[in-house]
Amino acid sequence: MITLTVNGTQHQVDLEPDTPLLWAIRDAVGLTGTKFGCGIAQCGACTVHVNGQAMRSCSVPIGGLDGANVTTIEGLSPDSKHPVQAAWLAEDVPQCGWCQSGQIMAAVAFLKQNPAPTDADIDAGITNICRCGTYERLRRAIHRAADLMKA
């Protein structure tokens, strides 16, 4: 039995320790906002925060996470008004949307480290894949979010 606190709620997860956090979140906790894209830490669709750090949950076994604090896209803000979410709306970023939970979670963690990033910082810091190709708006949205967070 592994104890995970997901978005502030404690869950006792009765799964094998090699279970990737992604599947514990989606199939056991029942939160489906975190997405499966590749399963090998390549695409970032599954990005969540573990104890405040962005992690690709498809490649993090829950065995090492007993007692961890996990934040998923559903827990990012109570009202979808986190500055990154607001910036995403303003720039109309998502197309199909499948990658976007991961993009947003990656961007939130990234902006904590780089509150005023340059384009080059963003290019180096956000490596998630978007098959729909929303990068142009995504880049603008990260700058906008940085501005909103400053204000």
Partner: protein, 732 residues
Amino acid sequence: MDGNRTTPILTRRHFIVTAATAAGGLMIGISAMPHLARAASVMGQPWNDDTAAAHEIDAWIVIDPDDSVLIRYQRSEMGQGSMTAVPMMLNEELQADWSKVRIEYASANRNHREKKIYGDQNSNSSRTINGSQVLVQKVGASARERLIAAAAAKWGVAATECASANSVVTHKPSGRTLRYGELAAAAATVKLDKEPAIKTPDQFTFIGKSQPRVDVVHKINGAAKFGMDAQVPGMVYAAVLQCPVPGGKLKSVDEAVVAGMPGNPVVVKLADAVAVAAEGTWWRARQALARLQPEWDVGEAGNTDSAQFFREYRAALDGPAKTARKQGDVDQAVPAGGKTFEAVYETPYLSHSPMEPLNATVHLQADRIDVWVGTQDAYEATEKVAKFAGLEAEQVYLHNSFVGGGFGRRDVSDEIAHAIAVAKVVKKPVKLIWSREEDTRHDKMRPMAVTRFKGVTGADGMPTALSIRTVAGSIVKAAGIPLPPNGVDFVAVAGLAGNGYASIPNVNVDYVMRDTHLPVWWWRAPGQNQNIFALESFIDEMATANGQDPYQFRRKMLAGKADWLAVLDAAAEKGDWGKPLPKGTGRGIAICDDAGSLCAQVAEVTVSPKGELKVNRVTVVMDTHYIVNPLSIAEQAEGSVIFGLSAALYGKIEVKNGVPVQGNFDTYRMVRLAQAPKIDVHLLASGGPKWGGAGEPAVPPLSGAVANAIFAATGKRIRSLPIMDHDLSGST
């Protein structure tokens, strides 16, 4: 059956992006000016488990007494924005208050029961808009006239004295008003003597103004429900492994090895695959599947590889061919002072790789089946489900979801077939998910092609003859569409037979159909996505060898074609064509017509002395003839550039021992932010009889524009894709 009903999230926080139309010009601005505004909405769950509702005006429109309006959208939302744009077209006529409009998917089940009241339900070939426009305008106009008739009857006045706007009918002489919510019940019973005429484009007041897409609010907080997000009580999870050599069969598999593994795994044998269903998590199913060591019957295909395929395709260039187009005599003598050209272009197999791997959740019962899936064609998928399940289409309840990327892949329904096959064995609801590796390797691929060009230019440097022969797989055959009498797959030669260059007097276009064991299918801008790369590169070869500017060369070839020239000229102007560039940097240009629209692009690239390539900027000009939602058209153009660029730079599915090699994003690479160029999009709306599509036309020109830019920067001609296979070092 409401196992998957989720709490509706009725967020109404939206931003609007306004479009500023350049005064007197045709260029549509897409400047993002976000401010809070009123807009329509959708729920996180786009389908409705009920197929009918109280207060229906008709199958498309529900108006409640409180004036809220529900518009049913009959196709799919996969990021292309049509779930917003199609209801916008309907509302152009209906004249409802857009802020009170909610949108949901139309039921495919009802469409089957009510004689296709919603028409076709596919979202492919970029035809969601042009395939819906007349139909939904008629639906909206009819409802509006019935609302007006209901008001006129209440007042005892002539309908011609009434007008409607913003969900209110006004009796013009007296100024009396009635709200749509007060009229809906009566309007539903009105029979019009004559259906009203629909508006012509000059009468539009709503179409053409940027609206935020209704789905976006749910795609920033995890609320949007995709196929893979379905949760059905009692469901088990299934993973599948298909024969590694596509087309092969399962011989045998030892099921005993999974005994005792977590989740009580059950092995299900299919003709060409093996699946495992497990309780609790999909991971358990996948772990159990990984332990199986199936024996496969792969046949002759097991001895094939890509190099051999390309050799065979090249050899087929000199064999028999079918004629797609013939004009003049390509073999006449080369004019004095003329030049001859010959080049062979090659493009590999590609996987669609939508971001959401294929999946389907099914609940099969004796007299009913529920399917949760993201499909590009809910109507056709319903028919297929009925066949797979042995039921009638009326017994199929397909809950179409938000689609996590389609690009042409999500209308085959092979993933649904797997899920139903497993459900028949385990007799429980099943959520079946393909791994990324299955999704990539068992794609229905973009065909590979080898294309040979022979060109002749005259003393003035302009082409006098062009002879093209392409050897390529046949999507048309794969789709079961009869070939035309000339035996030519018209998709395989799309773009080659014309592309606007009608000024060349002597032209031959031939086709050789050649397939391998890899199945092929529609892939964003089918045919054109590879043919335009080849053609626009070869045009560039002739231009540059004759010392001509590639843009001016195309201008001359397009002489007299005002619509093409407008797009080409705008791309050159916006893309800074001709402005000085540093050493190692070059610009390339390409143009095509696709899905009824014209698109030209200028790409700017830099190649370092070490051979590193960076695409700095891509300028897109697209003429879709009409524009419903400028914002989502611009987004489609931006996305198409990236989609095309992943293919141009990295895209290839190789085959070794019959097995597709690339399986995941570590080897089937995608453009990420670091490689994403700046993209500027400019839209034109030239009008005319046809509405063009927007989801595909910006894919084909990209690879040609980039390859031509590389030539401008380096003098190296790229004649095969992907570009990463070419060594550009020392060329700048």
